[in-house]
């Protein structure tokens, strides 16, 4: 196990952000922490990165205890923060040089390694430009390059695509997948995008209100739903009638929606609708992680607009008082 958390908890004065998380992450995995904003994903990551002291519990990273050996832990990890943390008045190369020095990357290989990671994320051609002239996507890639510079065992990515447009997001996924293959490292990624977790992660922990509600591969999680899903919007559905149908496995009513889990939805749709009565709208699909979240958390998953995410911050603090 590269990472093992033991009942990790974080309490603030009037708020419990993380309520005891137990995880085991294997070498070479892309492991996702998925949950809505405020679920405690970033708090968990910050504790693992030794930037936040846990209230109780601990974690081992590559065998080192985050509370007792924070300096050793920091050598094992690379971190890509939610908000851009490169200095925008330095060039891309200078930012990486700063970090190479801080991590004491050996002088003989320093330059070579910096150029290597710059090429990996395709910003080698613009390495001598000031970071303030980079696009949002490039800044993100620079951060990823920086996280990899010192050959960490584990790379933490906190909402790596927050604030990127859909094409930028797809591109970022491509880079992350490529890096994992070339660098052979373990990646922990937090995200509130279902699609991202589904696409990138080998295993996912679904987190809600500071607790892990499910851990498995995306496929298995979806399989646990057991069948297809028909989602009906209507104020007045004949619930009893539908429940009596043999092929219906489960029925849940949430926020004016009726969600029916069943085998072969396409075949049985007519029958269900005939019994349901008048409906406003109908949706049929195979299970997605949204359904998984609903299943475990007992409420609808909402992708909120980010918590003043890195793009907003980048806009706000574009210039400093220097």
């Amino acid at each position: 196990m590269v990472i093992e958390t033991k009942n990790l908890k974080k309490k603030y004065d009037d708020l419990v952000a993380v309520r005891g998380i137990n995880l085991k992450v294997k070498q070479g995995e892309i492991f996702g922490l998925l949950g809505p904003n405020g679920a405690g994903k970033t708090t968990t990551l910050m504790m693992l990165a030794t930037l936040l002291e846990p209230t109780s519990g601990t974690a081992l990273i590559n065998g080192y205890d985050i509370r007792k050996q924070p300096d050793k832990v920091r050598r094992q990890i690379g971190m890509v923060f939610q908000d851009p943390s490169s200095d925008d008045i330095l060039t891309g190369y200078e930012n990486l040089r700063l970090h190479a020095l801080m991590y004491d990357v050996e002088k003989s290989i320093r330059k070579k390694r910096i150029n290597e990671v710059l090429r990996m994320v395709d910003i080698y051609d613009r390495k001598d430009e000031l970071v303030r002239h980079y696009s949002g996507g490039m800044r993100r890639r620079l951060e990823i390059a920086r996280g990899l510079l010192h050959h960490p065992k584990v790379l933490f990515l906190d909402e790596p695509t927050l604030g990127l447009d859909p094409s930028g997001r797809k591109q970022a996924w491509g880079y992350i997948e490529k890096l994992v293959q070339t660098e052979k490292i373990t990646v922990i990624i937090t995200t509130h995008y279902m699609e991202e977790a589904d696409k990138l992660c080998d295993r996912i922990a679904i987190i809600d209100f500071g607790k892990v509600v499910a851990i498995d591969t995306p496929e298995n999680l979806k399989k646990q739903i057991g069948g297809d899903i028909i989602k009906i919007k209507s104020d007045n559905v004949n619930v009893q009638g539908i429940k009596k149908l043999k092929f219906v496995m489960k029925l849940k009513q949430i926020d004016g929606f009726t969600q029916i889990t069943l085998k072969n939805a396409n075949e049985h749709l007519q029958e269900v609708l005939a019994i349901a009565g008048k409906v406003d709208s109908v949706e049929v699909h195979s299970p997605t992680l949204d359904d998984v979240f609903l299943h475990y958390a007992g409420r609808e998953y909402r992708e909120e607009g980010g918590e003043g995410g890195w793009a907003d911050r980048a806009m706000t603090y574009q210039s400093r008082g220097r």
Binding site: L51, F81, S85, M102, Y317
Partner: protein, 248 residues
Amino acid sequence: MSELTGIYAIWERELRVFYREKSRIISSIISPLFWLIIFGSGLGSSVSISGTNYQVFIFPGIIVMSCLFTSMFYGVYVIWDKKLDFLKGVMVAPLKRSSIFFGKVLGGVTDALLQATILFILAPFFKVHLGWNLILIYIFLFVLVFGLVSLGLIFGSILESPEGFGLINSMVTFPLFFLSGALFPLSNLPSWLTIFTRIDPVTYGVDAIRYLMLGNGTFSLVLDMIFLLLFAAITSIIGTYCFKKMRI
């Protein structure tokens, strides 16, 4: 060795930033020149102090003033580093907090001494002639500025906003400046004022540098150095502690 490399890394970054932000260098040179040219020659036309022209008399004081303002103001960049999240990236590196602090201090010290150097180059225009004493002047300035930068960084690490920093900074910097004897001799002051001038660490910097430049001082150089070292030691110990406790 890795801690030394780390200190060097932080220092190098500060220097690059300083070099790129030309406005910082220019503005920090302009204001002492205003003091020297306008205030110095204005008051100097009717005032001289124990036989020394007033403009010449305040030259050492204005050098120290330039260092004082630059050093204290340097603390605000920590707040910007926090706001820009740059500091998180530094904090997650396997460097001791004290190394980060000392890297920052050395960056600020370099900034201040470079500015002093520009003023030294202009010294002949103000009829101040520097000899071999310049080496000693640099040593005294280094210790003084080390303490002042540390003090600025203490405020920077505690405070959250640049506005708050500006307020605290002027509440501390101006008294430090006016009580230091940069603009007037320390002899013949009313006793209540003397007490305040004696607890101002900048006083000992001005005194030493004025003695080394013009030959008149109130205290001995040894006493000046002892107070300056004490000041630098105390502020850097507190500063290191503040960096350890700093919220990012």
